[in-house]
């Protein structure tokens, strides 16, 4: 192997091992920032040694041992003056090589779960949670995170440093919350993963319609969570939702870069494997026998589309019913808007328009471009072209995505065309 090949291999090993490594080290030293530093130190040693010595048989255990030695070095240098390291000495001393082996295997799932709960802790801002999770649990570099968010690398680096400091100063424990707190904290974790996914799936501004890296990382993390927290129905619900949405990834944008709406997508190009995985995840969720939560309901809606061979076969009545169920567990004006669309498809545009008109004065939707966009669509279907056009124009002025804006203006122009005929 050449040295650059070895470096690429080490990168790959780092991606596979670093979440487990950082989770295991955080358990020992109880400080996520220090744990990451120690893991990084181990990586530096590997980068120095492996090009010559070759890659060890169990690189994960090797890195863990190197990190632990680093921890002990640090301790000795500090001569136990620092209280934190003294505390660490007590915990690390308990570890033998056997313990390490066991940790790399059996309990690592628990440590990963604790780490996710830590990086998604509500003391951090949403942005900080997403950045820190991408860094520590997905093994992304700050540069990769910055690029995904179209942000400067220094901004992300600072955000991560501050987040780690906050976790340490607020003494956020390395644990899986119990009792009533669990559900609340689990929603915070799922929210971070879904935020990550949505950020990638549909950029809110700029010319990039899709940012695949974030979607892939979110999906991967969701799949990990489904394995380490298999008893939680909403975890499977979220995974199902992301799998099914990802199945349409490649059909969402046309060859010329314009967005393609769900109903117009080429279903032959939907990824059957991801649809199958999504339906299986939804089944795992249902088998747990608890009422469907917001993610599972959204996944069930998404599944209706995935299972319709052609757009015309869509079971809109079922989708309308699922939106109604969703509006009960997670009421929001956006869910209402979607319900209105489903009802218009199932029972006619006039019924949908009635519901949409009720939402016109909803303050939460005042800046939401999809409201005039949907209203324009319903008006156009009812032949009220003048009103439809002005709604599409209003929607175009509200969206921040330039591609979407183009599409809306095109629809507005089409209304004028029909009218002139």
């Amino acid at each position: 192997m050449t040295s650059s090949q070895t470096h690429r291999t080490i990168d790959a090993i780092w991606r596979i091992e670093s979440p487990k490594l950082i989770a295991g080290l955080t358990r020992m030293v109880r400080d996520v920032g220090l744990a990451e530093d120690l893991a990084q130190d181990a990586l530096v040693i590997a980068l120095q040694r492996w090009p010559e010595s070759g890659i060890p048989d169990n690189p994960g255990a090797w890195l863990m041992t190197a990190a632990k030695r680093k921890a002990i070095d640090l301790l000795r240098r500090n001569k136990l003056r620092d209280e934190k390291y003294a505390e660490m000495a007590q915990t690390t001393e308990l570890y033998t090589e056997d313990d390490l082996e066991r940790n790399m295997d059996g309990e690592i799932g628990d440590d990963l779960l604790r780490l996710i709960f830590m990086t998604c802790h509500p003391v951090l801002s949403r942005e900080a949670r997403v950045a820190l999770t991408l860094r520590l649990l997905c093994g992304l570099t700050t540069d990769e995170i910055a690029r995904s968010f179209l942000t400067a690398e220094s901004t992300i680096a600072q955000r991560i440093v501050r987040a780690k400091r906050t976790l340490s100063s607020r003494k956020v424990p390395f644990e899986v919350p119990a009792g009533e707190e669990l559900q609340e904290r689990l929603s915070a974790v799922l929210e971070v993963i879904y935020l990550m996914f949505n950020e990638g799936y549909s950029a809110t501004n700029g010319d990039h319609w899709l940012r695949p890296l974030l979607c892939q990382e979110a999906l991967r993390l969701g799949r990990v969570l489904a394995e380490i927290a298999p008893e939680e129905p909403e975890v499977h619900g979220l995974v199902a939702l992301m799998e099914i949405q990802s199945s349409r990834f490649k059909t969402r944008v046309s060859a010329s870069g314009e967005p393609v709406l769900l109903m117009d997508q080429n279903r032959a190009q939907w990824d059957r494997l991801l649809i199958r995985r999504g339906l299986a995840a939804l089944e795992r969720c249902r088998k747990l026998g608890r009422p469907l939560g917001p993610y599972a309901l959204q996944a069930a809606i998404s599944a209706c589309h995935a299972q319709a061979p052609a757009a015309a076969d869509t079971d809109w009545a079922r989708i309308a019913a699922l939106y109604e169920a969703l509006s009960r567990v997670a009421p929001s004006p956006i869910v209402e808007l979607n319900r209105a669309v489903a009802i218009s498809m199932a029972f006619g545009p006039a019924f949908g328009l009635q519901l949409v008109d009720e939402l016109m004065h909803e303050p939460a939707l005042k800046e939401y471009h999809l409201l005039p966009s949907v209203r324009g669509d319903l008006l156009a279907k009812l032949g009220r072209m003048d009103e439809a056009r002005s709604e599409f124009e209003r929607a175009a002025a509200m969206t921040r995505n330039s591609r979407e804006q183009e599409l809306l203006l095109k629809r507005a122009a089409a209304c004028r065309g029909t009218q002139n005929e």
């Binding site: 991606r15 991967r220 969701g222 060859a255 080429n266």
Partner: protein, 144 residues
């Protein structure tokens, strides 16, 4: 990026001999590891070629020739596959190297192949345009 780890057939897999309990356990542990890392997309094992058929086209434009299994040359056949989704080729290689020796008696062989995805196929705008035109044509034919 998707990769397929293809496990080649062996005389044992062709004879329908089940893997040893140790190997089964190691395989299961490996599959769990893949799932826990969130990279596993799917895996399947295949029946021996004794129940297979082989279709060949020896003459261009001619009729297919169908031959019943079993087929000789085990190493030219596959016994199973595991599909993974990873960030880089190196990551795929790393996972493939961690798969247990699928035979254990000298015939174990794993082949790692990258799966074509839309991005690979849509690099060429001309090809996309042609593909779309063809699809449209087919759809119109269906409607007619």
């Amino acid at each position: 990026m998707r990769f397929m780890m293809i496990v080649k057939a062996t005389t044992d897999s062709e004879a329908g001999v089940l893997p040893s309990p140790e190997l089964l356990e190691a395989m299961q542990r490996y599959n769990e590891e893949l799932a826990r890392a969130g990279v596993m997309l799917g895996a399947d094992g295949l029946h021996p070629s004794s129940s297979a058929i082989r279709i060949s086209y020896p003459e261009p434009g001619g009729k297919p020739k169908v031959v019943d299994g079993p087929f000789t040359e085990a190493k030219e056949m596959i016994a199973g596959y595991t599909l993974i989704e990873v960030k880089s080729r190196e990551e795929a290689i790393e996972w493939a190297l961690r798969m247990p020796d699928p035979h254990g008696y000298g015939q174990g062989q794993i082949e790692l192949r990258q799966v074509f995805e839309m991005e690979d196929l849509t690099d060429n705008p001309e090809a996309i345009a042609k593909d779309n035109a063809l699809r449209q044509q087919l759809e119109e034919q269906q409607k007619a």
